[in-house]
Symmetry: C2
Subunit: 459 residues, 2 copies
């Protein structure tokens, strides 16, 4: 209480000092507001929002399309912004850099504070040691935990928080070709699907039901599906938007929502990018997601409701929630601009909710970043004399101007083995709340783990 | 004096408050340091550094090559960072957006606070009205002014500060095909070369001597070269690095340094990017600039020396200096990664000097940004099955790992009419000093004018 009064008092003295330091009243007020937002200390809650493959170019394309070049997305409104380097390590010689990360190594970086090689899920390059994750740390400290995505919940980004395995491909007990030593029948920790459940994460939602229907090959759950094993361990399993809206958990019960066999369905559709002169000019078709699958926003709203301390007891622990907008990446890989932008906007809708929640719960740290950049480039409208050899599509934005998106990093596209590439650019981070000022300047992705650990009071 | 003491006192109270607000001592100190850096008020000096085409991808490529992925460039070390939108307007209908700007419209945005169409130099789209520039404002307020570049000094970026014309192509009195109404013989303000001199900018340096050797076709200087006209108006004209190092100005004299007929020479060279499998792996050849041309760093050091108030009179006005690293853009257009990175590093060396100057002169506002993104992408090393159809080169970085740079936005490259394209991505800005906190978050390029105007005490 004493601390709180001191903080308020000093905030006001700081504001006054700025006012005396010159500048217009509105600028001085802005400076004072900003000074007050530089908060150390612990966060009651952490909401970490990861736009997979959402580099600056992908953000700009979505903004231009949806709210116009001068408009602002929810993700644009946070007070602190910085850049993040995303590189990974080479598996054969981890002293060597790999300048283009995948989501597994990129995710391991923010989730564990340590670099690894592409394809690895929270294990060290070459030596294959488990690396402790921020979700594990939060759990130890009594925080409730959530992990949601629009991809399969066993995909790389959600996997890095609650699994340790040498290959991201090991998503279910029948997918263990690349990691036989991790099989439960070999005495290992099992597939990503199994490990996420065994981690007792309070809320797990996304796609990937097919992984959870696979049969466990060893240990206590041997012979049963991963879903059955989850239920035996206290999870309530649901699979539709309606079940989600109506779900009620008993005390101590956890939630496993699996809303699609594979990745969840797209929010928008449109014509894919094609060679010159490209597809379009087109407006995207919105609202194409089947109604039995929930929006990311709905998953997030329910997650927060289930995770938060409803009694508002100041002594009770808060929550750590990871929210992935996964298919920004997947639809950049396949050069489908409408699908990509639709997923970016759906992700931004979730961000808007996080900001609303934080406004009512100011001890909440919000972080928004990407694990790597992607191929999307905004280029001048192509003509016969000037155009790339790759794929392109011209979209008609909300302000009725043409915007051409270009995807050129792979000449053969878009089978899964020949997709547009990730890029090695630094990406943007935005944050607000306790410790958020730590994102200013140029950071590495591993710094994000340490920032969150500080906000948990552990560093 | 009273203000200064108050500010120090409050700084210390703020620091204490943060220390009490939790977090480790080092984090608390960091928060307090940052709070103290949130300064309103006027800047004694403004150094605006523009990396032409220096998007996040171009920055990351240069960092990886020169100091390694975990290394830090000088431009990475500033306390405040944000994003900037760069779009321009369509000439035929300025109510419509052009999502990919050129350096003329991009420059007009930061130099005047107003959007225009591509190709225009500080004039309004369609209506061709002159737009007041930040250099003109600074001059009115008694600041000394400098404008230096590695391109021709008549190129778009330096032009936007001290010229108003409907086309960037009108660089010298013999280049007026696109703007006959601006010819001096037609009663106009003349070419960019003429206008820069007529603006009486205190320090003007770069390439572009050929523009200044052209003959003025009207007005007081009719029949003489622009250089002769400049000398008649009080400029000392120089053309070599040696002259630069030895130059001494009489009171009231101004400096015109023209060190190349066209753009200045490159700092580095190497093999250009070519189709798959690309050039390299290569290390770049450094130090290839002819010694009779100065480095950007040397031009900047001399500019500051000439512009600053050497007597350290607290009542005297300071200076406004624009420093352009111009050929990051030009060598991305031509897909020459070594040249591009060499120019980025040369620009960073100038930034280092600006930071050193600001450390000794804390009232200095430093801003570093780009006018638009460019085509450069850092991609996985290409192989037969996965590579783009564009141009690529693999560089061996300082940490002895391979980094592949890819340029794919134009299928025919690299004649001037078929070059790699600018991109419409938001770009990074970094700043420190009075008003610098204004760059946090997502800004538009026009906001940069207003931030500088506030720092000049004019808004």
């Amino acid at each position: 209480m004493k601390l709180r009064i001191l903080t308020l008092l000093v905030g006001s003295v700081c504001a006054q000092a700025i006012a005396q330091n010159g500048g217009s009243p509105s600028q001085s007020a802005e400076a004072a507001r900003l000074q007050q937002q530089i908060q150390g200390g612990r966060a009651k809650n952490i909401i970490f929002l990861l736009g997979d493959g959402m580099g600056d170019s992908e953000i700009t394309a979505a903004r231009n399309y949806q709210v116009g070049a001068a408009g602002r997305l929810a993700m644009d409104t946070l007070p602190f912004t910085g850049a993040v380097t995303t590189y990974s390590l080479q598996e054969v010689d981890p002293s060597k850099i790999d300048y283009v990360t995948d989501s597994a190594a990129g995710g391991t970086a923010w989730a564990t504070g340590q670099k690894t090689s592409n394809g690895r899920i929270s294990t060290s390059a070459k030596t294959d040691k488990p690396l402790k994750t921020i979700l594990e740390l939060a759990k130890e400290l009594g925080y409730r935990t959530g992990n949601i995505t629009t991809a399969e919940i066993t995909d790389a980004t959600p996997a890095v928080l609650g699994a340790h395995v040498n290959s991201r491909s090991c998503q279910g007990p029948a997918d263990m070709k690349a990691c036989p030593q991790y099989k439960k029948s070999a005495g290992g920790a099992g597939s990503i699907a199994e490990q996420l459940v065994d981690h007792k994460i309070d809320v797990l939602m996304g796609g990937g039901r097919q992984r959870y229907e696979q049969i466990i090959d060893g240990g206590p759950g041997e012979g049963s599906s991963v879903i059955a094993s989850a239920e035996a361990q206290g999870y309530k399993a649901i699979s539709t938007a309606r079940e989600l809206s109506e779900v009620h958990l008993e005390p101590g019960q956890r939630l496993l929502g699996l809303f699609n066999e594979g990745n969840m369905s797209m929010e928008w559709s449109g014509d894919p990018a094609i060679p010159y002169p490209g597809s379009g000019p087109q407006r995207c078709k919105e609202f194409v997601r089947p109604t039995n699958e929930p929006a990311l926003l709905s998953m997030m709203m329910k997650s927060i409701r289930l995770l938060e301390n409803a009694n508002n007891d100041p002594q009770a622990a808060g929550f750590f929630l990871q929210v992935e907008g996964a298919q920004i990446d997947k639809r950049a890989h396949t050069a489908e601009p409408c699908e990509q932008i639709g997923e970016t906007i759906a992700f931004d809708n979730a961000i808007k909710l996080a900001l609303d929640y934080a406004a009512a719960n100011p001890g909440t740290l919000i972080m928004i970043t990407a694990d790597h950049g992607h191929s999307t480039q905004i280029v001048p409208e192509p003509n016969a004399g000037n155009h790339g050899a790759g794929l392109m599509s011209t979209l008609v934005t909300t302000e009725k101007a043409n915007m051409t998106l270009y995807y050129g990093t792979n000449a053969v596209c878009c089978a899964s083995s020949h997709s547009m590439e990730h890029t090695g650019t630094q990406v943007r981070i935005a944050a607000q709340g306790p410790q958020a000022f730590g994102v200013l300047g140029v950071n590495d992705m591993t710094d994000m783990y340490h920032l969150m650990a500080r906000a948990l009071g552990a560093e």
